[in-house]
């Protein structure tokens, strides 16, 4: 189970004029436990935005968690609080257990996400893209982040498994984690997010509910 909880209604993430050579400026905020969806055509800068929030690329503008600016915090601590799960997660070894411990929390998430129990002992190269995507989500959730940045988390999943992932994400939100969800799936964006934005030609605008 996700252990951390945060006070509801407070600002979890503030993004102010965030930009780099490949996108922006972007300005928006996410409340504790809120999910914000970002949509837009391929190459419009959605991934660039998530990478800048995670402080993976040099940028201008400001990002804050709980009012604390990114640059006032050691980068490693920032990235643990703001967990980015890329569309194609990477692994530094073929062994799943090199990336996460064999704990009850992991087994709980494996069950809820519809993964096979033996996936922890199966080489990553023999798992499907969808299984690796869910394991990457587990790897991020184990850090109990304040903000989850998800880039197409269900792109390789069938409808039933997508429902399972969304259920886990709703539970994570209920405990106060804010979510920024990049998705091409408009139905998923509508189901998951209280606020939706569209990025086109480097400009970000809110989609009316």
């Amino acid at each position: 189970m996700i252990a951390a909880t945060y006070a509801a209604g407070t600002l979890a993430l503030e993004v102010q004029g965030l930009c780099c050579a490949h996108g922006g400026p972007f300005t928006f905020s996410v409340l504790t436990g809120q999910c914000v969806a970002i949509t837009g055509p391929s190459g419009s800068g959605k991934t660039v935005l998530l990478r800048m929030i995670a402080d993976l690329d040099p940028h201008e503008g400001e990002v804050r968690i709980n009012g604390q600016p990114c640059l006032d915090m050691p980068a490693e601590r920032w990235r643990r609080l703001v967990q980015y799960v890329p569309a194609e997660p990477a692994w530094w070894s073929d062994i799943v257990l090199d990336h996460m411990a064999d704990t009850d929390e992991v087994h709980d998430l494996i069950g809820r996400l519809g993964l096979r129990e033996d996936c922890l002992r199966t080489p990553l190269s023999r798992l499907s893209t969808g299984e690796r995507q869910r394991l990457a989500l587990i790897r991020a959730l184990l850090l109990h982040p304040r903000v989850l940045l998800l880039d197409e988390p269900c792109s390789a999943l069938d409808a039933a498994t997508t429902d399972r992932v969304e259920a886990v994400l709703q539970a994570v939100r209920a405990r106060g984690t804010a979510i920024v969800l990049v998705s091409h799936n408009m139905q998923q964006a509508a189901r998951m997010a209280g606020k939706r934005f569209r990025i086109a030609q480097r400009h970000m605008e809110e989609i009316a509910p």
């Binding site: 490693e76 990235r79 790897r139």
Partner: protein, 266 residues
């Protein structure tokens, strides 16, 4: 025992071997004949020049001449150490790191050799300092070059895996340490093989040269042990410096991977 002095006739035998190799390359369509001939001529000219320069420097016993020659050797080594990597940094950084790592590894072990075991009078005398520096510089240059090549290729290949660690909160050192260790190990492997096989599979070059020049084989083996120890230490220092400097340059103070600082030859 007097050293065996080689005559012009002996040099012609060496040249005949190279020509035979080129003919073989032509007959077997290996395409190596041109490279073989050019390398052999280049080697002969370079060594003849070095012999003449050393004769001149040893004859004049000038500290400034020694420093000038060493400066030239260090510059050439830095250039060569940075010349053959497939993936490169921008030129200033690339050759800068190659030069600093090569020079650091060499200078430290040359000073240890001169000030402890060899102790010539004075310690910087050209007849000892220049050949010792040349021997170590060549080895450290190779180790630095291998370390740089292995690490730069690995970082390019494993960029996503490195970033996966960074995303999960690893420091830049934690994210790169595995690849740095691999690069240092790859750089030291030829020297370790050489040390393990010394005297069993191969007769080391320095010892062979000294025995041919008339030295007692036991005394020559002691020299070989000392010089191999200096070589492996210099290689370790050069390869380690090169790897850490590259890792430091390809990340920033926020621990981000900055691979835009790489240039790719392809």
């Amino acid at each position: 025992m007097n050293p065996i002095v080689l005559t012009t006739g002996d040099m012609l035998v060496a040249a005949a071997l190279i020509v035979t190799g080129s003919v073989l390359s032509f007959l077997l369509s290996l395409g190596l004949q041109r490279a073989l001939l050019v390398s052999a001529v280049r080697m002969a000219v370079q060594l003849a020049l070095v012999g003449s320069v050393l004769l001149f420097v040893f004859g004049h016993a000038s500290v400034w001449l020694t420093i000038g020659l060493l400066a030239f050797m260090f510059s050439a080594a830095g250039w060569e150490a940075g010349s053959r990597q497939q993936v490169r940094l921008c030129p200033g950084w690339h050759f800068g790191i190659a030069g600093v790592a090569t020079a650091t590894g060499t200078v430290i072990v040359v000073l240890i050799g001169l000030l402890t075991a060899l102790q010539p009078q004075p310690w910087y005398v050209a007849r000892t300092a220049i050949p010792l520096t040349g021997l170590l510089l060549g080895n450290v240059m190779n180790a630095t070059s291998l370390s740089m090549n292995t690490l730069l290729s690995a970082i390019t290949r494993e960029r996503q895996a490195i970033e996966a660690r960074i995303i999960l909160g690893a420091t830049r050192a934690q994210a790169m340490n595995g690849l740095i260790r691999q690069a240092i190990r790859a750089a030291l492997l030829p020297t370790l093989n050489q040390m393990a096989a010394a005297g069993i599979v191969t007769m080391p070059g320095i010892m062979t040269g000294q025995i041919l020049a008339g030295m007692n084989p036991l005394a020559a083996s002691r020299y070989q042990v000392l010089l191999m120890s200096l070589i492996v230490s210099g290689n370790l220092i050069g390869a380690t410096f090169a790897a850490y400097l590259i890792a430091w340059h390809l990340t920033d103070s926020r621990g981000r991977l900055r691979l835009e600082r790489l240039l790719s030859r392809s």
